[in-house]
C-alpha cells in the first residue's frame, strides 16, 4: 500500500510541477464558461435592416416605428427602390430588407422580405421575428411560458456540454499521454521490472487525474452557479454520482488508448480525432441530435458524453429527480464496465 501511495504522490508532483499545463487546465474551464455564458449565442440581435417604401403614410410609419423599437432589428437605411436594397445587402452593409408595397395601408398588397440567406438558420429566424413584430398577432391570445429557462439564456444549454467535453479531455487525453510518455522515454521498462505490480502503476497514474477532474468539476459547478446564474436545481449528490461514473469511464478510455499507442503523437491524435471530434460533433453538445440524419443518430448512441450531457441537463437545469435519468445512468455504467474490461485485457505487462 505504501508503494502505491508513493507512486501517487510522485505522479501528483509531476503534474503540479508542469505549471503551463496546470494553467491551461484551470484556465480552460474558466474561459469556456465565460465565453459560452456571455459571448456565444444564437439570439437574434442587431439585424441590419433596410426599409424600402415608396411613400411614407401613417401605417407604414407605424410599422417601421415598431421595427426600430424592437431589440431585434436596427434600421440602417431607408430607400425607395428594392434594387437599391439588394445592392446594400450585396455589399454586406445590411442583412435583410423589408419592402412595403404601395398600397400597404389599404391592405390591397402586402410585404416582401429580402433576406441574406447565407446563414439559413438565422435568415429564417429573422423572417419569423420580423413577421411577428410587424403582424403583431393579438397579444392576448397566446400565453407562452418558457420552462426551466425563462430568460432563455443559452448558458443553460452549454454548461453541461462544457462539463462533458472538459472531463473527457482531462481524463482521457492527459492520462493516455502521461502513460505513453513513459513508454517513449524508456522509463516504463524500469517501472515494469520494479516490485510493484504493473497494474498498480497504471492505477497510480490515473488517481491524480481523478482528483484533478473532481476539482475542475467543482470549479465549473461553482462558476455556473455564481457567475453565470445557471441554477443547480437537482440534488448535488446525484450530480456528483453521475459525474464520477463518467470520469471513471473517461479514465478507462485513456487507459485503452495508452495500451494501443506507442508514441505520444499517436496517442494525442487518436484521442483528438477519434474521441474529441466525434464527441463535439455527435453528442448533442452544440448541434442537436434530433436534427441529424438517421445514421449519425445511431452513431451517437455509442458516444458516452451524449448520455452524460443529457443526464446533466436534466439534473442541473430541469431539476428532475434521479428516476428520470435511470436510462442514462444504466448506459454509462454499462459502457464503463465494457471499457474497463477491454482496457484491462489489452494491458500488456511486457514491452513489445
Amino acid at each position: 500500500m505504501k508503494q502505491f501511495i508513493s507512486f501517487v504522490i510522485k505522479e501528483a508532483k509531476h503534474i503540479l510541477r508542469d505549471k503551463r499545463t496546470m494553467l491551461m487546465l484551470f484556465g480552460m474551464p474558466l474561459v469556456m464558461m465565460l465565453l459560452f455564458g456571455f459571448a456565444i449565442t444564437n439570439d437574434v440581435k442587431n439585424v441590419r435592416t433596410v426599409v424600402v417604401t415608396a411613400n411614407s403614410d401613417y401605417q407604414t410609419q407605424q410599422a417601421v416605428e415598431r421595427l426600430s423599437q424592437s431589440e431585434y432589428f436596427t434600421i440602417v437605411r431607408t430607400v425607395a427602390m428594392p434594387q437599391e436594397a439588394e445592392r446594400i445587402i450585396r455589399n454586406q452593409k445590411a442583412d435583410m430588407a423589408i419592402i412595403f408595397a404601395k398600397d400597404f395601408a389599404s391592405s390591397k398588397s402586402g410585404l416582401q422580405f429580402i433576406v441574406d440567406a447565407a446563414d439559413p438558420n438565422m435568415a429564417q429566424q429573422w423572417t419569423t421575428y420580423a413577421s411577428q413584430v410587424l403582424m403583431n398577432p393579438a397579444a392576448g391570445l397566446i400565453n407562452s411560458k418558457m420552462l426551466y429557462n425563462p430568460q432563455m439564456k443559452s448558458a443553460y444549454n452549454f454548461v453541461p456540454a462544457i462539463m462533458g467535453m472538459l472531463l473527457m479531455l482531462i481524463c482521457a487525453l492527459m492520462t493516455s499521454i502521461s502513460i505513453v510518455r513513459e513508454k517513449e522515454r524508456g522509463t516504463m521498462e524500469v517501472l515494469l521490472v520494479s516490485p510493484t505490480r504493473p497494474l498498480m502503476i497504471i492505477v497510480a497514474k490515473a488517481v491524480p487525474y481523478l482528483a484533478l477532474a473532481f476539482t475542475i468539476l467543482t470549479i465549473i459547478l461553482l462558476m455556473a452557479r455564481f457567475v453565470l446564474g445557471v441554477p443547480l436545481q437537482g440534488s448535488v449528490f446525484w450530480i456528483y454520482f453521475t459525474s464520477t461514473i463518467y470520469i471513471l469511464l473517461a479514465l478507462s478510455l485513456g487507459l485503452l488508448v495508452s495500451n494501443i499507442a506507442k508514441t505520444q503523437l499517436v496517442a494525442l491524435l487518436v484521442c483528438a480525432m477519434v474521441l474529441l471530434m466525434p464527441i463535439i460533433m455527435l453528442s448533442g453538445m452544440i448541434f442537436p441530435i434530433e436534427s441529424m440524419p438517421r445514421i449519425l443518430q445511431w452513431v451517437s448512441v455509442i458516444i458516452p458524453p451524449r448520455y452524460y450531457i443529457s443526464a446533466m441537463r436534466k439534473l442541473m437545469v430541469m431539476g428532475v429527480g434521479v428516476e428520470q435519468v435511470f436510462f442514462e445512468l444504466t448506459m454509462l455504467t454499462a459502457m464503463l464496465a465494457v471499457l474497463l474490461a477491454l482496457s484491462l485485457k489489452t494491458f500488456k505487462t511486457r514491452l513489445e
Partner: protein, 383 residues
C-alpha cells in the same frame, strides 16, 4: 540546402505510420460528416396537446398541428400535469393547452388564452417552437374568425393597439420572402467554407507545432542547432511541406464539396486559395510561437487547444458575430479567423470579388506578418 531539408521533412512524414493516413482521411471525414451534423435547424419538435374544450374549433386546431410537418405530434393528454411529465422525461418539447370554452369565447369575440409551455433548456429550440406553434394558433383563429364572419355576415374589426393591420389574414397571405444567395436554405452551403478554417487550423497549426516540439523532446533539435543551417532555412523547411499539404487538402475538400453536395463556389476560386494561404500563414506562425515557448508536447497541445478553441468560438464560425455583446464583438477585429470566415463566406456563397473583401484580406495579411515576425524573432538557436 533548404531543398534537402524539405525533402527530409516529406520523408519523415511519409515514414510515420499514422500521419499520412490522418492527412488523407481526416478532411474526407470532416467534409462528409460535419455538414450533416451541423444543422442548427430546429426540427422535429415534439408537441403534446391538452384539449380542455373538445369543440370542433379546438379539434380543428389539433388537426392543424398534427398535420404540420414541422412538429411531431406526440399525443393528447388529459391534463397539464400529465403533459408536464412528458416534458420532464424529455418525451415532449412543447405543450399546448387549449382552455375550456375556447370555441365559445371565440364566437363571442372574446380572447381565450391558449397556453404554450416550451422546454427552454435549449433557448433557441424553445422559443422557435413556441413561435411556430403560436403562428399556427393565430392562423387557426383568423381562419375561424373569417369563417365566423362569413356566417354572420359582418367583418370582425379588431381594436389592437396596432392600427396598421385591419385584417391580418389578408396580409398573412400576401407576405412573401425572397432568400438571396441560398435559395434552398441549405445549411451545408453555409458551413462548408467554414470547415476550411478548421482544416487549415489542424494541418498548418497543430501539425508543425507538434513536429517541432517533438524534436525538442527527443533532442534532435540540438543537433540541428549546431549545424550551419540558418534560422530561416530551418523554419521554412518545417513549414513549407505543411503548406503544400494544406493546399492539397483544400483542393480535396473543394472537390468533395462539389461531388458529394453539388456545391461550388460562387466567386473566383483563386480568392479562396489566397484566403486559405493567408490563414495558413497565421496558424503556422502561431504554432511556431507556441512551440518556441513549450518544452513538451503536452504543453504545446494544451496551449494550442486553448487558444484555437477561443479563436474558433469567437470567429462567427458556429454562431453569428452580430449576436455577440459589444465587448466580445470588439475581439473580432483582432481575430484573423473571423476575417477569414466572413470573407470566405462572401466569396463562396455570395459570389463576392476582391473588391468586396479587400479589407479582410489586408487585415489577414497584416496579422499574418506580425505573427510571423514574432515567431522568427522568438526562435533562438542557442538557448
Amino acid at each position: 540546402m533548404i531543398r534537402y531539408l524539405i525533402q527530409k521533412e516529406f520523408l519523415q512524414i511519409r515514414r510515420n505510420a499514422f500521419l499520412p493516413r490522418l492527412i488523407v482521411v481526416f478532411p474526407i471525414v470532416i467534409m462528409c460528416v460535419m455538414p450533416w451534423v451541423m444543422q442548427m435547424e430546429v426540427k422535429n419538435i415534439v408537441v403534446d396537446v391538452v384539449d380542455l374544450d373538445r369543440s370542433t374549433q379546438s379539434q380543428r386546431l389539433v388537426h392543424d398541428i398534427e398535420h404540420n410537418n414541422y412538429f411531431i405530434f406526440h399525443g393528447q393528454k388529459d391534463s397539464y400535469a400529465e403533459a408536464l411529465q412528458d416534458i420532464e422525461h424529455t418525451d415532449a418539447d412543447v405543450v399546448l393547452v387549449i382552455p375550456q370554452d375556447y370555441a365559445k369565447d371565440l364566437t363571442l369575440g372574446r380572447q381565450p388564452q391558449v397556453l404554450i409551455a416550451a422546454n427552454a433548456v435549449n433557448g433557441t429550440k424553445g422559443s422557435m417552437g413556441a413561435a411556430y406553434l403560436s403562428q399556427i394558433v393565430t392562423a387557426n383563429r383568423w381562419s375561424s374568425e373569417s369563417h365566423q364572419a362569413g356566417l354572420n355576415g359582418r367583418v370582425a374589426t379588431e381594436v389592437d393597439e396596432v392600427n396598421a393591420n385591419p385584417n391580418m389574414s389578408a396580409i398573412q397571405s400576401k407576405l412573401s420572402t425572397l432568400y438571396l444567395y441560398n435559395k434552398h436554405l441549405n445549411y451545408k452551403l453555409f458551413m462548408i467554407p467554414a470547415l476550411f478554417a478548421i482544416v487549415m487550423m489542424l494541418m498548418t497549426g497543430f501539425l508543425p507545432a507538434l513536429n517541432i516540439v517533438g524534436e525538442k523532446e527527443s533532442g534532435t533539435i540540438e543537433q540541428i542547432n549546431v549545424t550551419p543551417v540558418s534560422k530561416w532555412s530551418f523554419i521554412l523547411a518545417k513549414l513549407i511541406p505543411y503548406w503544400i499539404i494544406a493546399l492539397f487538402v483544400i483542393t480535396v475538400c473543394l472537390l468533395l464539396a462539389w461531388l458529394v453536395y453539388g456545391i461550388t463556389p460562387a466567386g473566383p476560386l483563386w480568392l479562396i486559395y489566397l484566403l486559405a494561404m493567408l490563414l495558413a500563414l497565421f496558424f503556422s506562425s502561431f504554432g511556431l510561437i507556441i512551440s518556441n515557448y513549450s518544452d513538451t508536447m503536452q504543453q504545446a497541445v494544451f496551449v494550442m487547444w486553448f487558444f484555437v478553441v477561443i479563436l474558433l468560438l469567437l470567429s462567427g464560425l458556429f454562431t453569428p458575430t452580430r449576436s455577440m455583446p459589444s465587448w466580445s464583438y470588439l475581439t473580432t477585429y483582432i481575430n484573423p479567423v473571423s476575417y477569414f470566415v466572413e470573407s470566405v463566406r462572401t466569396v463562396f456563397i455570395r459570389g463576392g470579388t476582391l473588391l468586396h473583401i479587400w479589407h479582410q484580406v489586408l487585415a489577414l495579411f497584416v496579422i499574418g506578418i506580425i505573427m510571423a515576425s514574432w515567431a522568427v524573432l522568438s526562435y533562438k538557436k542557442n538557448n
